[in-house]
C-alpha cells in the first residue's frame, strides 16, 4: 500500500517540481522582509494606490493609457508643467521660455543642477536627445497605437511611411542645444497648443544614458505585427528626474516606487505648489485591481489607501463612512447630442435650435449623474481658458421648439433618427440608454417623433459616427491636455464626416477661426478667439452639449495633499498618510 502510494506520489511531486522550476524567477523583487507600515505625522511611510490595471510600459512616448501615465508622472518630469488642479501651464524642467516673433522657434531656459536618478546630468543635450529620439522613430513605432500623443501634437516623423498610419507632415522641425541650459525647439509652423501638449507624460524627459544602456528602442515585431521590446528600459529601468524612482514591478501584483533622495526640489508644505516638491512618503505602491467592487472593498479594509474611477453608485457608501473621503476631479469632459448637419432636416438651423430647446438637459443631469454632473453650455469645460460665459443658451422649452419648427415650415411631428450606444459607460455618459430615453421623451413633447437606433459602442457605433452615418447621436469626449484645441479644435477645426462638415459649409467660418487660434502666440488674443468660436458654435449648433461630469477619487480619511488634476496628471509628491 505504501509502495503504491509512493509510486503515485513521486510522479506528482516531480510534475509539480518541474512546473515550479519553470514558473519562477521572472519578477523583480527586493529581498528585504517585513513591512513598512504607514506612519503618522505626514512624514515617510507608504501609500498604496489601487489602480485599475497594470501600466503597459514605463516609456512615456510609447503609451497612451491612463495607468501608465499615472506611474510615469511620478518618475519623470516635462519641460512645462500644470499648476496642480488646473490646466494652467507653469514652469517644469524649464524655468522660462519664449517664442520667436513668427511663433516657430521656442527657446526653453532649463533648470540648473538637476540630475536624473542614475546620476547623469539633465541638460539641453538630454532634452534634444529625447525629442530627436521621438522624431526619428521608424517602423512599428510610427503606428498610431504606439505613438498616439506624438502624432496628436506633432503629427509625423522624420521619415514618412504611408503604411504606418502616421501623418506625412510634422509640426516638429528640430531641437538645438545652444548651451548647456538652453534648448531651442523649432517647429515647421506656428502653434501655441503644442505648449500645453508638452505637459503630457509622453513628453517626459528621460536619461539618455538609461535609454541607450537599456536599449529602449530595441525589439522585434512578431508575426502578429506586435512590437516586443527586447530592452529592459521600459519595464525595469525607467529613469527620470522626478520625485520618485522605480524600484520593482511584479505584473498583476504591485509596482513599487521609492522617494528620490536626490530630487532637485526641496520639500514644501504647500500642497498646491508643485515647483519642486520632494516626496513626503518613502514608498508609493500601485496595486492593480480591475474589479470596481474589489477596489472599494480593498479601500474599506485598508489594503489600499486610495483609488480612482469610483463608480457613481459607490459614492454615497464612501461619503457615509467617516474613515473615507471622496475627492472631486474637476470636470474635463463633455457629453453632447451630436448632429450631422448635412442630413435633412438637420441642415435647417431652426430645426437644430428646436432640438436644443426640446432637450431636457437639466432633468437628465439631475437624474442620471449622481449629483456630480452639470449642464454643459458649450463644447468645452468651464475650467479651460477660452470658455465663454455669454454663449446663447437653450433651456428646455417644448413650446418654443414647436414654434421654431412651424416657423421652419415643417409638419409636426418632425421625424428624427436618434442613436445611442450600448455596452458602454463613459465618464461623460455613465448610462447612455437612460440619457437617450429621457431625451427622446422630452423631444416627443417638443414636436418631434424620435425613431430610436442603437449599436454596440465598439466598433459599430464609433465606426458609424466616424463615417457620418448617424443623424442625431449621443457622444462625448474627455480632454487630454489643457488647450481648447483639444476640445473644439478636435471637433470643428477640420471638416469631418461625423458632423457633416465635409459637405456642409455652415461651419467654415468657425474652422478658419480655430485654425488661426491654434497658431496665435499671444495668450490673451488666443483666449478671445476661442471665446468667439464658442459663441459662434453655440449659434450655429452643430450639436447640443449637455453634460460635464466630475469623476471621483476615494481615499482613506488620513490621506492628505492629493490634488486631482482635470487631465489626470497629478503628483503623489505632495501626498502624506496619517
Amino acid at each position: 500500500m505504501r509502495g503504491k502510494l509512493l509510486k503515485l506520489a513521486l510522479p506528482c511531486v516531480a510534475f509539480f517540481a518541474l512546473i515550479a522550476a519553470g514558473c519562477g524567477g521572472s519578477n523583480n523583487t527586493s529581498s528585504s522582509t517585513g513591512g513598512t507600515g504607514t506612519s503618522a505625522g505626514g512624514g515617510g511611510g507608504t501609500l498604496v494606490f489601487g489602480s485599475a490595471a497594470d501600466p503597459v510600459a514605463l516609456d512615456g512616448i510609447l503609451v497612451s493609457d491612463g495607468e501608465s501615465s499615472r506611474v510615469i508622472e511620478q518618475i519623470f518630469e516635462t519641460l512645462v508643467d500644470l499648476k496642480p488642479g488646473t490646466t494652467d501651464v507653469e514652469p517644469g524642467l524649464a524655468e522660462s521660455w519664449e517664442a520667436s516673433a513668427d511663433g516657430t522657434a521656442w527657446t526653453f531656459h532649463l533648470r540648473q543642477g538637476v540630475k536624473f536618478s542614475d546620476g547623469t546630468d539633465f541638460n539641453a543635450d538630454a532634452v534634444c536627445f529625447n525629442f530627436n529620439r521621438w522624431y526619428n522613430f521608424k517602423g512599428s513605432f510610427q503606428n498610431p497605437s504606439a505613438t498616439y500623443y506624438w502624432q496628436t501634437i506633432f503629427g509625423g516623423f522624420a521619415t514618412y511611411d504611408p503604411k504606418s498610419g502616421a501623418p506625412k507632415d510634422s509640426l516638429y522641425k528640430s531641437c538645438d542645444a545652444t548651451d548647456a541650459n538652453t534648448a531651442v525647439i523649432t517647429l515647421t509652423s506656428p502653434s501655441s497648443s503644442f505648449l500645453a501638449g508638452l505637459t503630457l507624460t509622453p513628453f517626459s524627459i528621460a536619461s539618455p544614458k538609461a535609454l541607450t544602456d537599456f536599449k529602449a528602442d530595441e525589439g522585434s515585431v512578431d508575426a502578429d505585427g506586435i512590437f516586443h521590446p527586447t530592452g529592459t528600459y521600459a519595464t525595469e529601468h525607467p529613469t527620470g528626474t522626478g520625485p520618485f524612482m522605480f524600484k520593482s514591478w511584479t505584473r498583476g501584483d504591485k509596482l513599487v516606487l521609492v522617494r528620490n533622495p536626490n530630487y532637485w526640489g526641496a520639500a514644501s508644505d504647500n500642497p498646491t505648489e508643485f515647483n519642486g516638491t520632494g516626496a513626503k512618503i518613502d514608498q508609493l505602491i500601485f496595486r492593480p485591481i480591475a474589479d470596481n467592487a474589489a477596489r472599494l472593498q480593498a479601500l474599506q479594509t485598508g489594503e489600499i489607501n486610495g483609488y480612482d474611477l469610483v463608480e457613481p453608485q459607490d459614492i454615497p457608501t464612501i461619503q457615509s463612512n467617516t474613515d473615507l473621503q471622496i475627492l472631486d476631479r474637476p470636470a474635463f469632459n463633455v457629453g453632447y447630442v451630436g448632429f450631422n448637419i448635412s442630413m435633412p432636416p438637420l441642415d435647417n438651423p431652426k430645426v437644430r435650435q428646436a432640438i436644443a430647446y426640446g432637450l431636457d438637459r437639466q432633468g437628465v443631469i439631475d437624474s442620471f449623474y449622481g449629483g456630480r454632473g452639470e449642464v454643459a453650455k458649450e463644447f468645452m469645460p468651464p475650467s479651460l481658458f477660452g470658455y465663454a460665459d455669454d454663449v446663447p443658451e437653450y433651456t428646455y422649452d417644448p413650446a418654443k421648439s414647436k414654434q421654431l419648427l412651424q416657423d421652419a415650415g415643417m409638419t409636426l411631428p418632425v421625424k428624427i433618427d436618434f442613436w445611442y450606444p450600448t455596452d458602454v459607460s463613459r465618464p461623460y455618459m455613465p448610462d447612455p440608454k437612460r440619457n437617450f430615453e429621457a431625451f427622446a421623451a422630452s423631444l416627443d413633447k417638443a414636436g418631434f417623433k424620435v425613431v430610436p437606433h442603437s449599436a454596440p459602442w465598439s466598433p459599430d457605433y464609433l465606426g458609424k459616427s466616424d463615417e457620418g452615418q448617424l443623424q442625431v447621436y449621443l457622444l462625448g469626449w474627455t480632454g487630454d491636455f489643457g488647450d481648447p484645441d483639444d476640445f473644439i479644435g478636435v471637433f470643428f477645426r477640420s471638416p469631418q464626416k461625423q458632423w457633416g462638415t465635409t459637405t456642409s459649409h455652415e461651419m467654415d467660418g468657425v474652422q478658419k477661426l480655430l485654425e488661426q487660434a491654434r497658431t496665435e502666440t499671444d495668450q490673451a488674443k488666443r483666449t478671445q478667439m476661442y471665446q468667439e468660436a464658442n459663441r459662434q458654435i453655440m449659434t450655429i449648433l452643430p450639436g447640443v452639449p449637455y453634460a460635464h461630469n466630475k469623476p471621483a477619487l476615494a481615499f482613506q480619511a488620513n490621506v492628505s495633499g492629493y490634488v486631482p488634476s482635470p487631465v489626470d496628471l497629478q503628483s503623489f509628491a505632495t501626498v502624506s498618510v496619517g
Binding site: T33, G219, G225, E303
Partner: protein, 335 residues
C-alpha cells in the same frame, strides 16, 4: 500502462487542433477588435486601419489562420498586444497563482466534502443528513461571484479577519523563485509571509471550492450508502472488526472510486470558476488574465491562454485516470 499513457498523450494533438480552431474563429466573431479597444473615441478610421494593418487583421481570415497555424506548429505563441510581453512569459508568471488557488479550493472541497458526505450517509435520514442536503444545494446554487462578494463583505469588511485582494500583502517582500507564493515563503523561511499568503488564499478557496464541495459531499453520501450494504462489509463486521476499521478500510476505500472520478471532473470546474473568483479577488492568475485579454480583444493572449488551459486539463485528467489504478487493483491488473 505505458501504452495507455502514450495513447492518451497522443490524443492531445487532435484535441489541441480542435481547440485552436474553435478559439481562433470564436474570438474573431466577437464584435470589436484590438484597435477600438486600444483607442476608444480616439479610434479614427485611419487609426483603426493602421492598427489592423499592423496586426495583419485586414487580411482574409484564411490567411490569418494559416499564419496562426504555422506559428503554432513551430510553438510560437506571439506577444501580448497590451503588455507586449511574450504570451508564454505571462502565462508562466500567472499560472502558479491559479494552480495554488485551485489546489487550495480542491483541498477545501475534499477535506470538508468527504467527511460531510460520510457523516450524512452514516446518519441517514437524520437532521444532520437533511442539513447537509440543504447546505449542498445552497453551495451548488449560489453563483461563485456572489458568494465571493458576500464572504469578502462579512469576513473582510465587517469583521476585518481576512484580506480582500491579491496573493500577498504589498508591504511584504520575498524573492519568488517558483511563483508559488506558499512555497516561496517556505524557501525564504519567512513565517510572516507564509501566514499572510495563507490568509489571502482562504476566502478565494472557499468561494471557488463551494460548488465542488457540495458535489463531493453528495457523491460521497451516495457512494457510502451503496457500499455499506455490500456483502464484504457485512463479512468484515461478522469477522469482529470494529466500526472504525470497517468504515475506513472497507467502506470508505471502496466508496472512493466514484468519488475520485468526481474529484477529477472538478478540475475543469475549478479552472473555469477561477475566472470569476480571480476577478473578484484581484488574484493575478490565468483566469483574470484571460478576462482582461477578452475585454481588450488581445488575440494572442486569448489564443495562447486557452490552449495552455486545454493542455493542463488534459494532463490533470490523465493523472486522475492513472490514480484509478492505484485505488482499485482490479482496474490496474486488468490492463
Amino acid at each position: 500502462m505505458l501504452r495507455f499513457v502514450i495513447r492518451r498523450l497522443l490524443l492531445l494533438i487532435p484535441i489541441l487542433i480542435g481547440v485552436s480552431i474553435l478559439v481562433f474563429f470564436w474570438i474573431r466573431a466577437l464584435p470589436g477588435g484590438p484597435a477600438a479597444a486600444l483607442l476608444g473615441e480616439r479610434a479614427t478610421p485611419q487609426a483603426v486601419a493602421a492598427i489592423e494593418h499592423q496586426y495583419g487583421l485586414d487580411k482574409p481570415i484564411y490567411v490569418q489562420y494559416e499564419r496562426y497555424a504555422r506559428q503554432l506548429a513551430t510553438l510560437k505563441f506571439g506577444n501580448s498586444a497590451t503588455s507586449r510581453q511574450p504570451v508564454t512569459t505571462e502565462f508562466r508568471q500567472r499560472f502558479p497563482a491559479t494552480i495554488e488557488l485551485a489546489l487550495a479550493a480542491g483541498l477545501f472541497a475534499v477535506v470538508f466534502g468527504i467527511p460531510l458526505g460520510f457523516i450524512a450517509a452514516k446518519r441517514y435520514r437524520s437532521p444532520v443528513d437533511h442539513a447537509s442536503l440543504v447546505l449542498s444545494l445552497i453551495g451548488i446554487s449560489t453563483p461563485i461571484f456572489f458568494l465571493a462578494l458576500l464572504l469578502k463583505y462579512v469576513f473582510s469588511v465587517r469583521l476585518g479577519w481576512l484580506p480582500t485582494v491579491g496573493r500577498m500583502s504589498v508591504l511584504i517582500d520575498i524573492p519568488h523563485p517558483t511563483n508559488f507564493y506558499l512555497l516561496d515563503s517556505i524557501i525564504a523561511l519567512n513565517w510572516t509571509a507564509f501566514v499572510d499568503v495563507s490568509k489571502h488564499l482562504i476566502l478565494p478557496a472557499i468561494a471557488l471550492g463551494s460548488i465542488p464541495l457540495a458535489i463531493i459531499a453528495r457523491i460521497t453520501r451516495a457512494s457510502v450508502l451503496d457500499v455499506q450494504n455490500e456483502d464484504y462489509v457485512r463479512t468484515a463486521q461478522a469477522k469482529g472488526l470494529g466500526p472504525h476499521a470497517v468504515d475506513f478500510h472497507h467502506v470508505l476505500r471502496n466508496a472512493m472510486l466514484p468519488i475520485s472520478t468526481i474529484i477529477g471532473l472538478q478540475v475543469g470546474l475549478l479552472l473555469s470558476g477561477a475566472v470569476l473568483t480571480e476577478t473578484v479577488f484581484a488574484f493575478p492568475g490565468i483566469g483574470s488574465w484571460l478576462v482582461d485579454a477578452i475585454k481588450a480583444r488581445n488575440y494572442p493572449v486569448i489564443q495562447g491562454g486557452v490552449l495552455f488551459v486545454a493542455i493542463i486539463v488534459v494532463f490533470v485528467n490523465l493523472l486522475v485516470d492513472l490514480s484509478y489504478g492505484f485505488l482499485n487493483p482490479r482496474i490496474r491488473l486488468s490492463k
